[in-house]
């Protein structure tokens, strides 16, 4: 499966190179034009990057990230840029593949970006963080929740979302409080993220005295889950916790319904996309999941939400997290008076709290958000909405 993704990347790199060549030509042309005129004042520029899964089975999230990123860049440029410099966006695709994430990171480094909004999957963010740390570039992930990302990260590694040790605890507490009688199965997709969050849920359920009746791992990208579902059914499972990504979860729910298996599903922040409902249909009805509190209802986000609505874009999911990632960096750079990554990274940790569409955000010394909260969401009739703000 992996080599295929690499091909997609090659395809992309060619595209990217063409863009670069085009860019170079463009610069040469504009320089020539400026010299010829002998006048003109070009605004200084600074390059920033975004890396996420624009193809592959998590593409729905890459699109959410890009929507937020693009809007943040255009809003900041309209307001005069960062320390007087105009932002030039560079977007690369990592397909949530660790190998491709490293090449995508190298592409951004050679493009000369000073900050990266990304990546999405923990398995991509972690290897890419080594590249950015070596190059001295700030990386802020709006989505990678695996604790190892910042625990083993460098001085330039940040995230604007919570951590799985926080998220898994909230999920386990909710299950223990509201479904104490349930026969629980905890499944994961064997990915860095999926297994990480599922293990947190297993450990926290154990602490709360809930016995997990079935533990299992499936392979991400598999299409046939009928055998797994029969097994859960035969064990009388009534609550299934799914640690993984929406495309596999949606199929599990759909195939479960075909076999007459209707447990309470409980999931996490990789299920907050309408793509889940497109796959699972009514089989996803009532699914609960943990996700960061709804940013679109925060008064601080009102302006960005109005702009997104005007563009006909959905402000939910990771859109505002991606927006906030650029915004927080811009605020810190403006305060530091420079876009130099070393100074901005230090400022991000010591300066704060930074105003953002998520409300004020401060970072601890590891680059994690201080007091990140998790809320419970519920799927109903094709939409998800906040169900409970705490367990």
């Amino acid at each position: 499966m992996k080599p295929r993704k690499f091909r997609v990347h090659n395809f992309f790199v060619i595209h990217q190179k063409q863009q670069q060549e085009h860019h170079v030509r463009h610069i040469l042309f504009s320089t020539a034009a400026l010299l010829a005129l002998g006048t003109g004042l070009a605004q200084a520029q600074v390059k920033i990057g975004m890396a996420g899964p624009l193809t592959g089975s998590n593409a729905a999230f890459g699109v959410q990230m890009k929507t937020g990123f693009d809007l943040a860049v255009s809003d900041i440029n309209k307001a005069g840029g960062v320390v007087g410099k105009k932002l030039v966006p560079y977007v690369v695709d990592d397909a949530c593949d660790p190998k491709q994430a490293v090449s995508a990171a190298n592409t951004l480094v050679s493009d000369g970006v000073v900050m990266v909004d990304g990546h999405f999957c923990s398995a991509s963010s972690i290897p890419a963080s080594k590249v950015y740390t070596d190059a001295g570039i700030i990386q802020i992930s709006p989505a990678s929740t695996n604790p190892a990302y910042t625990d083993n990260g460098g001085p330039f590694t940040f995230r604007s979302c919570g951590r799985d040790d926080q998220q898994g605890k909230v999920a386990a507490e909710y299950i223990a409080k509201h479904f104490p009688q349930a026969k629980v199965a905890v499944l994961d997709d064997n990915s860095t993220y999926g297994k990480g969050i599922a293990d947190q849920v297993r450990a926290n359920l154990g602490k709360l005295g809930i016995k997990v009746a079935y533990n299992g791992s499936y392979t991400a990208g598999d299409k046939d889950y009928s055998a797994l579902i029969s097994r859960l059914k035969s064990q009388g499972i009534t609550l299934v916790y799914l640690g993984g990504y929406y495309s596999d979860m949606g199929l599990i729910m759909r195939e479960g319904a075909q076999q007459g298996f209707h447990p309470q599903y409980f999931s996490e922040d990789a299920a907050v996309t309408s793509a889940l409902w497109q796959i699972a249909g009514s089989a996803a009805e009532g699914t609960l999941m943990t996700f960061s509190p709804p940013a679109e209802q925060d008064p601080a986000a009102a302006k960005a939400v109005a702009e997104l609505k005007a563009l006909n874009e959905d402000p939910t999911g990771y859109v505002l997290y991606s927006y906030a990632t650029v915004q927080i960096w811009a605020e810190a750079a403006n305060k530091a008076g420079t876009t130099d990554p070393t100074k901005v990274a230090a400022e991000m940790k010591s300066g704060g709290p930074w105003p953002s569409v998520l409300g004020p955000v401060s970072f601890d010394s590891k680059g994690d958000v201080i007091n990140a909260a998790y809320a419970i969401y519920r799927w109903h009739d094709g939409n998800y909405a906040v169900y409970a703000l705490k367990p």
Partner: protein, 302 residues
């Protein structure tokens, strides 16, 4: 007992789909001795044609008629793909060294995948269940054995397609020509068989079978992306090798076995290692039967 029966149903359905794709691999191998790695992607295109046709026919109230149109359209379009692939990527290399068409096939697979990704988008496409529901076979201690109509349909369609295909290969002049080319292409040509035409027809038929598998995959799972051809293709290729590559009943047997191994391994051992189980059994079988379960010894073709 009830549980084992349910896993048997799961395994057989999956195995039927693998078997149907595996026939395409084994046929092409039998006739020109190459592995057509683009076959999995033809299967994927079959599924996409299915979803495009079914989406276009949304207004149609008669589900069986819509499905019939989807199956026929998909088979025709995939047949055209199969024909063109052979013409463009394999025929010019037929006299070349043995690895050339193999590499060409891998290239073709990349081209088809990227083509679908660019033209149809990278996101998953889903359709609602067109044949929902099923029949309850048994209720043992609260465990209900469910046979969905879709599973039943897959088994019936696969058996019907296989019966028709077996008739074609064993009883018709085209089938005789195919078997002759398979045994000795040069001699068949000397005896007046148009080998180019026979090979083209083999590709068309194999691709049409892949199209059937693609549409059934779409109807059963309901979700497809440009990527499905790779995983399904690898499994089907394994099925062809397990059953004995070049042997038609072997391809179906291999497919069924792999489906059953996956289902029972997931059902009784660990779900996580079902692929490891499949490939371990393949390795063990090949150790004792190097040409697969029903394959013949044909060393010079390898």
């Amino acid at each position: 007992m009830a549980y084992a029966l349910q896993q048997l149903i799961n395994g057989l359905t999956l195995g039927m789909i693998y078997g149907l794709i595996a026939i395409g691999y084994t046929m092409v191998y039998g006739i020109i001795g190459m592995i057509n790695f683009a076959h999995g992607d033809v299967f994927m295109i079959g599924a996409f044609v299915g979803i495009i046709v079914l989406t276009a026919l949304t207004g149609l109230t008669s589900v069986p008629l819509g499905l019939l149109v989807a199956f026929i359209a998909s088979a025709i379009i995939c047949g055209v793909y199969g024909f063109s692939i052979e013409r463009v990527a394999y025929r010019p290399l037929r006299g070349s060294f043995r690895l050339a068409p193999l590499i060409s096939a891998i290239g073709m697979s990349i081209v088809l995948e990227n083509y679908v990704q660019v033209s149809q988008g990278a996101l998953e496409r889903a359709i609602p269940s067109l044949i929902p529901g099923g029949v309850t076979l048994m209720n043992q201690g609260g465990f209900v054995v469910q046979l969905s109509w879709m599973q039943l349909a897959i088994v019936i369609v696969t058996i019907a397609v296989l019966a028709g295909f077996t008739y074609l290969v064993t009883k018709t002049p085209l089938g005789r020509a195919m078997r002759a080319v398979e045994q000795d292409a040069k001699m068949a040509a000397l005896l007046g068989i148009d080998t180019d035409r026979t090979i083209s027809l083999t590709f068309i038929i194999g691709s049409a079978l892949a199209a059937f598998a693609g549409v059934m995959f779409l109807l059963y799972y309901g979700v497809i992306d440009f990527y499905i051809g790779f995983n399904a293709g690898i499994k089907a290729f394994t099925a062809a090798v397990l059953g004995g590559i070049g042997s038609l009943p072997g391809a179906v047997l291999g497919g069924l076995l792999i489906g059953l191994i996956e289902a029972f391994w997931s059902g009784y051992a660990t779900v996580a290692y079902k692929d490891a189980a499949v490939y371990s059994i393949l390795a063990i079988v090949l150790m004792f039967m190097p040409s697969g379960l029903l394959g013949r010894h044909e060393v010079e073709k390898v």
